[in-house]
């Protein structure tokens, strides 16, 4: 017996709607089994995961903080992926945004007025876009595989941040600890409703970006261009679209958004540069982009769901003593189920009996083991 996929003539509207729910139910079932095996009441575990974080205002704020960078980055990435351009270096662009955006508050801390924050955000976007322009340039000019160059540049950015925070930008009064000075109030991204929680403007940026990119993709010529070039570069060329220019556009747009996410995180939530400013947001955002099916509005939902699993994991840890390893496994399960169920949108699955297998090539491969 084996699985066989049969491509549907067009995407199934029914499964487009149904698949996230199937995935969610499967996650609940598998999760319950896991919790039961660990000796924890599945009902209380799932309650801690999905209900508790949504039942308190302060946790909603925390959800916004956690989801904002994921959404912001993933929205940019969705444009890339739609254009069939594979930027997986958003983590590096996020970090560069954080570094470039921090030039002002770190090197001129006395410069405090109404211009400093907008300038920082702008510089963060420029930093992220410029860093993304490197793999774009290499791709457009030399046809270098962008998956790999953008991934390599992540490591370089991480090391640059590490070096700059331990070296030239280290807070002289910080007891040699690897951190920069704290940003002044003028350089801090304000909170939205300080009375009830910590959520800051980063979340608003994420929503605005999602709506704008959605409008672009669905209502504007540029979005059409992205989709045409993504599905058939040949057809795009006949229509007069340039693949090279699209590479730059997609990379720099996603780089700018990742950079904005980076400086928003540094300025709003952390308030200084540390040797590590991201628990892998740039990579998690790739997952978010696919969970949201590369649709900016779907990405908002996906970012919130993924953020919820982080918060839920902590709440289960605090309330039930479930370790953070369990939280990560649970998260992994959810992702696998969602990715797997989305197959149903494009394919029908059929189980077929095994035909007599030709084992000859396979056995050769095994000789090498």
């Amino acid at each position: 017996m084996r699985l066989e996929l049969i491509k549907r003539p067009q995407r199934s509207a029914l499964f487009s709607i149904l698949s996230p729910f199937i995935a969610f139910v499967l996650t609940l079932v598998a999760g319950s089994i896991m919790f039961a095996l660990l000796g924890v009441n599945p009902v209380s575990a799932l309650h801690a995961y999905f209900v508790e974080p949504l039942s308190q205002v302060w946790q909603l704020h925390e959800l916004a903080i956690k989801a904002a960078p994921l959404i912001l980055i993933a929205v940019g990435l969705s444009v890339c992926y739609r254009a069939n351009i594979w930027n997986i270096g958003a983590e590096g662009q996020f970090i560069m945004g954080g570094i470039v955006g921090s030039i002002l508050p770190v090197t001129y801390p006395e410069f405090q007025n109404a211009f400093v924050l907008p300038l920082m955000l702008l510089m963060g976007m420029v930093g992220g876009a410029a860093y993304a322009a490197i793999p774009a340039f290499l791709k457009a000019r030399f046809n270098t595989n962008e998956i790999l160059t953008s991934l390599m540049l992540v490591y370089v950015a991480q090391l640059l941040l590490d070096w700059i925070v331990r070296g030239p930008w280290r807070d002289p009064k910080g007891f040699n600890f690897p951190q920069t000075v704290q940003f002044s109030d003028a350089a801090t991204l304000p909170e939205l409703w300080p009375q009830s929680g910590r959520a800051n403007w980063g979340f608003v940026f994420a929503l605005v970006a999602a709506v704008l990119v959605w409008l672009m993709m669905s209502r504007m010529l540029k979005g059409f261009e992205v989709r045409v070039l993504g599905s058939s570069p040949r057809a795009g060329r006949f229509a007069g679209f340039s693949v090279g220019r699209m590479v730059f556009f997609a990379f720099m747009l996603s780089g700018a958004l990742a950079g904005l996410a980076g400086i928003s995180e540094v300025s709003g939530a952390i308030n200084q540069l540390l040797p590590s400013i991201s628990p892998g947001y740039g990579f998690t955002a790739i997952i978010v982009a696919f969970l949201g099916r590369l649709n900016p509005l779907g990405i908002v939902a996906a970012g919130l769901v993924l953020g919820l699993t982080y918060l839920g994991g902590e709440s289960a840890q605090a309330a039930l003593g479930l370790s953070d390893k369990v939280a990560r496994v649970f998260q992994g399960m959810l992702l696998f189920f969602v990715l797997g169920c989305d197959t149903l949108i494009h394919y029908r699955i059929r189980l077929v009996g095994m035909t007599t297998p030709k084992l000859e090539p396979a056995s050769k491969l095994e000789e090498v083991h």
Binding site: L138, T149, T284, K325
Partner: protein, 306 residues
């Protein structure tokens, strides 16, 4: 012991897990599949190897378990990306997430326990040879496996029919399918082989490099292995060279420090990544080289239509 030989031995131990994991991923990528879950499979191999070694008292059984767990874990990726045609990048990242969590859960009981170490090779007369004896004949078994694996994969890819088939699938799965090759089966084999290698690399960590289990002990080595494959432009012997350069930069930097020469470690550490980008650009500038080396359908899902 001569210090040069001592340094070489240290480099070999540091380079071996990178080499093995990268050789596995090389085969996967040659078949046109990009599995970003190396780190996750590696850490699963590390915990499985330590656990089996500790429970059975045999480091050799630990080694086998590491390979088996790596292969089994990669099967999950294979089912998702090959049978269900999910996106490879997202699935690979999810696999890493799952592996880091799952290994931590499995390993809770193993923390703080000294494990089994695979014994070093000892051949009377040879190991005691002056200068080269210890490097050539006195290392741990996984070192020799890693060299044999490199040679075996190089031979398989470029000297056997099946290897040619695998490469042709990586270059164009559509044409390979049209020629009647079972693309999916080949890719299953390649992904599982890659998982077994990553598991073995993890086993090296917990059975040779530092015989113990601690969470996150792979510490990013799976990601370096991914970089190495590209650095080597998908050529097995170049992976070996690359892994030893990575190891040499790191160990050389430590020695420089101990000699009292200050070096900013971050700048040295970033050199291999920058070098990788340069290599990529160089090979992609030359159309012929690109065609020869880069698997053209890397990362693209394939669903046979009928």
């Amino acid at each position: 012991m001569d210090i040069t030989i001592a340094i070489l031995l240290t480099i070999a131990t540091a380079a071996t897990p990178l080499l093995i994991a990268a050789i596995g991923e090389l085969v996967v990528e040659r078949s046109g599949v990009l599995n970003l879950g190396v780190e996750g499979m590696m850490i699963m191999g590390a915990v499985g190897g330590f656990g089996a070694g500790y429970l059975t008292g045999s480091a050799w059984l630990g080694l086998l378990a590491a390979i088996a767990i790596g292969a089994l874990f990669s099967l999950l990726f294979a089912v998702m990306t090959l049978s269900l045609a999910t996106n490879q990048v997202a699935t690979g990242l999810s696999l890493t997430l799952l592996g880091l969590g799952f290994s931590g859960m499995m390993g809770t009981g193993f923390v703080g326990l000294p494990g089994q170490r695979l014994p070093d090779l000892y051949i009377p007369g040879l190991t005691t040879l002056p200068v080269v004896g210890e490097f050539l004949f006195g290392q741990d078994p996984i070192f020799y496996i890693s060299i044999a694996l490199t040679a075996g994969v190089a031979w398989f890819l470029f000297k056997t029919r099946a290897g040619l088939t695998l490469r042709s699938i990586g270059d164009s799965h559509g044409s390979a399918h049209a020629l009647g090759i079972n693309v999916i089966r080949y890719r299953y084999m390649a992904v599982i082989f890659g998982g077994a290698c990553a598991g073995l690399a993890g086993g090296q960590l917990s059975l040779v490099y530092t015989p113990q289990w601690v969470e996150n002990m792979s510490a990013g080595r799976g990601w370096i292995a991914l970089a190495l494959v590209v650095f080597a432009s998908w050529r097995p012997w170049r992976v070996l060279v690359g892994a030893y350069i990575f190891g040499a930069v790191w160990i050389g930097q430590l020695h420089a420090q101990a000699f009292g020469i200050p070096v900013p470690p971050q700048i040295l550490s970033s050199l291999p990544y920058l070098a990788t980008i340069v290599v990529l650009v160089l090979i992609s500038r030359n159309k012929r080289l690109t065609m020869m080396n880069t698997p053209a359908s890397l990362g693209q899902p394939f669903v046979p239509d009928r």
